[in-house]
């Protein structure tokens, strides 16, 4: 009994001592993604930038690698606008961006378009970036969220924010929802989902409030269609007025699916 008591006492004391170490360490919790409803009517550029900052270190997990430890360029340490323009001017640059905003968006959606020397995936000779495509799982950032991060990165250096402030009410979907609902959703379902047929002639709709989308590709390139959806006020068709809303909750994947559908749909005419 004496042996049992001694060994048991020693063992329990040691187990508890190990447990006590956890108490002297910083206590942090890794919160689960939450659904944030953003009232865009009340959104100011200041709060939009603040949202971008939260996303930078939160859901976007940018700061996990873009920090002083050198895993990726520490974007908080240099002027992002200046560096972006330098890289666009780099002879090795093969992307399609023409300004800082486009470069940052391209970096997030096509990280391997330009890989900073020394930061490529091991063995790729700096041709492949280890950075994820941010609108895919597990990050699943929406267009609005990507814009907010761009706004933050421009604002932190005192540069003018070129990203327009979103104007409609929308929901910033949490990571889980975006990726989980990556359930098979065709372009037709997306057109219904975003209510395109309410104003445009597309699918079975003959609506004429907006331009006919059945032959849109004969008039606009894929890039122009993309821009018209992402920023409806950019180009207004003759005889039409600006009533089309923006779709901040639309993911890049959804946008590309609709653009591809509209382009292909026309070819079948």
């Amino acid at each position: 009994m004496n042996v049992l008591a001694k060994t048991l006492g020693f063992s329990v004391a040691l187990v508890v001592a190990f447990g006590a170490v956890a108490y002297v360490l910083p206590q942090m919790e890794g919160p689960a993604p939450e659904q944030h409803v953003v009232n865009l009517d009340e959104l100011t550029m200041e709060s939009f930038v603040a949202m971008g900052e939260d996303l930078y270190s939160g859901k976007g997990t940018c700061s996990l690698c873009h920090n002083a430890l050198g895993r990726a360029p520490d974007m908080l340490e240099f002027n992002v606008t200046e560096i972006s323009l330098q890289r666009i001017a780099d002879p090795n640059y093969e992307g399609s961006a023409g300004n800082t905003e486009e470069y940052l968006r391209e970096s997030m959606l096509q990280p391997s378009a330009y890989v900073v020397a020394g930061f490529g995936t091991k063995g790729s000779n700096d041709t492949e970036s280890p950075m994820p495509v941010v609108d895919k799982a597990p990050l699943g950032l929406s267009i609005l969220e990507i814009d907010a991060i761009i706004a933050f990165l421009q604002d932190k250096d005192g540069e003018p924010v070129s990203v327009p402030l979103p104007v409609a009410t929308a929901t910033v979907a949490p990571v889980a929802e975006v990726t989980a609902s990556a359930a098979p959703q065709g372009p037709e379902e997306l057109i219904v989902k975003f209510g395109c047929a309410a104003c445009h002639a597309v699918l079975d709709s003959q609506a004429a409030l907006g331009p006919d989308l059945n032959d849109i590709a004969t008039r606009l390139s894929a890039a122009e269609i993309r821009e018209s959806i992402a920023n409806p006020a950019a180009v207004i068709g003759d005889g039409f007025i600006v009533i089309m809303p923006e779709f901040p909750a639309m993911t890049v994947g959804e946008l590309e699916m609709i653009v591809a559908f509209l382009t292909v749909a026309d070819e079948t005419l």
């Binding site: 508890v16 956890a22 910083p26 889980a176």
Partner: protein
């Protein structure tokens, strides 16, 4: 940010899995063949009878149907609740199952080795010891099965959508697993109960074959179960957009993390199992009444410690491979574990591993008292102890701590100007590899303690060994300092390879050189049982630290999935889909370790009880009377 999971990346990760894991892969391949066969048989016996479609059409139909069935996406209200944290329940039960599973799968591995040694040397002590080890394992086997069954029920009750998805992914493989479990049970019972009936001559060969089969089936069970775990961490054979199962069972199983985890768990299980039976031997030693009993259990404890530490030495390399593959699969996942919120847990890991190393070394140093020849090497102990303590201090130094702005200003930045550099991995790598080398040195000195080397070239042999130690230590320090602090981040990881190789060279060279130098050596008398009682507490510290460590690192491995049941394809929207605080983690790990300890004592008691025989009542009374008279 994280590395995007491209098919190319997964392919590369799979290729780099290398030949080390060929054995479990081959074993599992046989299982998969059975699984695939079972799938086809069920298809043939089921739908074919009605529809008359061919097997190929079945495959196409299955693929098509599967591609239309995305991973389920249950919402919070879809999760059953029984009023207690579902994660907490599954956490405790799963961990208990893993503890006991590790024990019962590991013990037969080294038992077979000990049995072979006994067979070759003709020394019955090995055979008896191996048999006694199996007694502990056998008792634990039933408890493993009970926890396994309870775990399955808990998972189906609390996470039905996840289990439904996993069942879809793995199909009839789970039935193969169940079949293997029956086979494992039969082999285990025959192996244990047939021990004395198949003890000598040709019958021994039959018994050894049974042991080999038992280990083959046991390891296969392990690697099959591992595939479920690694599928949840790095799913393969699925459509990345929807989570629909598009691959066959082999593609689903053979994810990029499967083989690294297989290797890591096999080695870790042996170290863990050795430590557990070491505690059993220590308990028996402390309770022993006669010098013979003390000598037997002292020897048993020494053998257990030898097994445990020997298996522990290569464990960091297996862990390194696993973590490297996690990084290759998803940089975000790797950084979350090593540099994010979970990184703090590695401070506790440092405490635990240092406890293991200190306990293992301390046991060896005190054990030197068994041999008079040990006096020749005692001078080295204080230097080894110094390196171990310094290594421990470096390992537990955090890179930074949370402080106020005023404190940060006073400190002159985010990191301490002197201790800051010790907080990053290069310093810790130097510390851990030097500690491993020192532990091997303790072993080497212990092994030499009862020998007088007689070969003519002993001077040159010792000089060569010392040179290898010096070269390795310099190499480890240089690689760590130069690549860790004076080059780009990319090269930091590469420096670990140099350090690993330096350590491996020391161990391999040490074993080879000693084996050659021990030829014709004079063996001094070893007094088994002549060891301080306090040394036995080191044998208790080992399994406790191992148990805590297993639970902790298991949590880290599981937690890197964050809010995903199956990473990137099936989100976790349950009430527990967050990473808890370190205190909560510490409490849970402490709880499961204490529970395991309680069950372990029960097992020791049961194992002891089986060897107790009550005397006939009259004889018992006489012996008591005689005792009273004397």
């Amino acid at each position: 940010m994280m590395a995007f999971i491209t098919p190319r990346r997964i392919r590369r990760a799979r290729q780099s899995a290398g030949f080390l894991a060929t054995v479990p892969t081959l074993i599992a391949f046989v299982v998969l063949a059975c699984g695939g066969l079972a799938t086809q048989v069920s298809a043939a016996e089921g739908d074919d009878a009605v529809t008359g479609v061919s097997a190929d059409e079945h495959d196409v139909a299955r693929t098509t149907a599967a591609s239309l069935s995305p991973a389920p996406t249950p919402q919070r209200e879809d999760y059953p609740s029984i009023g207690v944290s579902s994660r907490g329940i599954v956490w405790v039960i799963a961990q208990m199952h893993l503890f006991f599973g590790a024990l019962v799968l590991a013990v037969p591995i080294f038992v077979l080795v000990i049995e072979i040694i006994g067979f070759r040397t003709g020394d019955d002590r090995y055979d008896d010891m191996a048999h006694e080890f199996m007694k502990v394992s056998l008792t634990a086997y039933a408890i493993t099965a009970l926890f396994g069954g309870t775990l399955a029920l808990a998972l189906f009750l609390l996470y039905p959508h996840l289990m439904s998805y996993l069942m879809t992914a793995f199909g009839s493989q789970v039935l193969v697993y169940a079949g293997l479990f029956f086979l494992e049970s039969m082999l285990l019972y025959i192996y244990y109960y047939g021990w004395n009936a198949l003890r000598y001559g040709n019958r021994k060969w039959l018994h050894l074959t049974l042991g080999l089969l038992l280990n083959g089936v046991g390891t296969t069970l392990l690697v099959v179960a591992n595939s479920w775990t690694t599928f949840m961490m790095a799913p393969s054979g699925v459509d990345p957009e929807t989570g629909a199962i598009v691959g066959n069972i082999w593609e689903v199983m053979k994810g990029p993390l499967w083989n690294p985890l297989n290797l890591h768990r096999v080695i870790a299980n042996v170290a863990f199992g050795g430590a557990i039976v070491g505690a059993y031997a220590a308990f028996k030693f402390l309770s022993a009444k006669t010098p013979e009993e003390k000598a037997h259990y002292d020897w048993m404890g020494y053998s257990s410690n030898f097994i445990s530490i020997l298996a522990f030495l290569p464990l960091p390399f297996a862990g390194y491979w696993l973590m490297a593959e996690i990084y290759a699969y998803s940089q975000q996942m790797g950084i979350l574990a090593m540099g994010g919120i979970l990184a703090w847990l590695f401070v506790i890991q440092a405490v635990l591993i240092c406890t293991i190393l200190l306990a293992g070394n301390y046991y060896l140093w005190t054990g030197m008292a068994r041999s008079e020849g040990a006096d020749r090497y005692r001078w080295a102990i204080k230097y080894i102890a110094t390196v171990l303590i310094l290594g421990f201090l470096v390992w537990v130094t955090p890179h930074n701590v949370i402080y106020t702005t005023a404190e940060a200003v006073k400190l002159g930045g985010g990191n301490h100007p002197v201790l800051g550099p010790l907080g990053i991995m290069p310093a810790k790598n130097i510390a851990v590899f030097l500690m491993l080398i020192c532990t091997f040195l303790s072993f080497q000195l212990y092994r030499r303690a009862d020998k007088v080397i007689t070969v003519s070239w002993q001077y040159w042999g010792n000089a060569l060994m010392a040179s290898i130690y010096i070269f390795a230590i310099v190499n480890i320090i240089f690689a760590g300092v130069y690549y860790g602090y004076f080059t780009n981040t990319v090269y930091k990881v590469g420096s670990s390879v140099i350090q690993v190789m330096s350590t491996v060279v020391v161990i391999v060279a040490g074993v080879v050189i000693d084996s050659l130098m021990f030829r014709g050596a004079k063996t001094l008398h070893v007094s088994w049982g002549r060891v301080a009682e306090r040394s036995q507490y080191a044998l208790f510290a080992l399994p406790i630290a191992f148990t805590w460590l297993m639970a902790l690192m298991g949590y880290v491995r599981s937690s890197v999935r964050t809010h995903w049941h199956v990473y990137t394809v099936m989100p976790d929207k349950s009430a527990d889909n967050f990473i808890p605080t370190l205190q909560t983690v510490g409490n849970m790990v402490t709880l499961v370790t204490l529970l395991f300890l309680a069950f372990l004592l029960f097992i020791f008691w049961i194992a002891n009880l089986s060897g107790t025989r009550q005397l006939p009542v009259a004889e018992d009374a006489r012996s008591q009377h005689a005792g009273a008279v004397t």
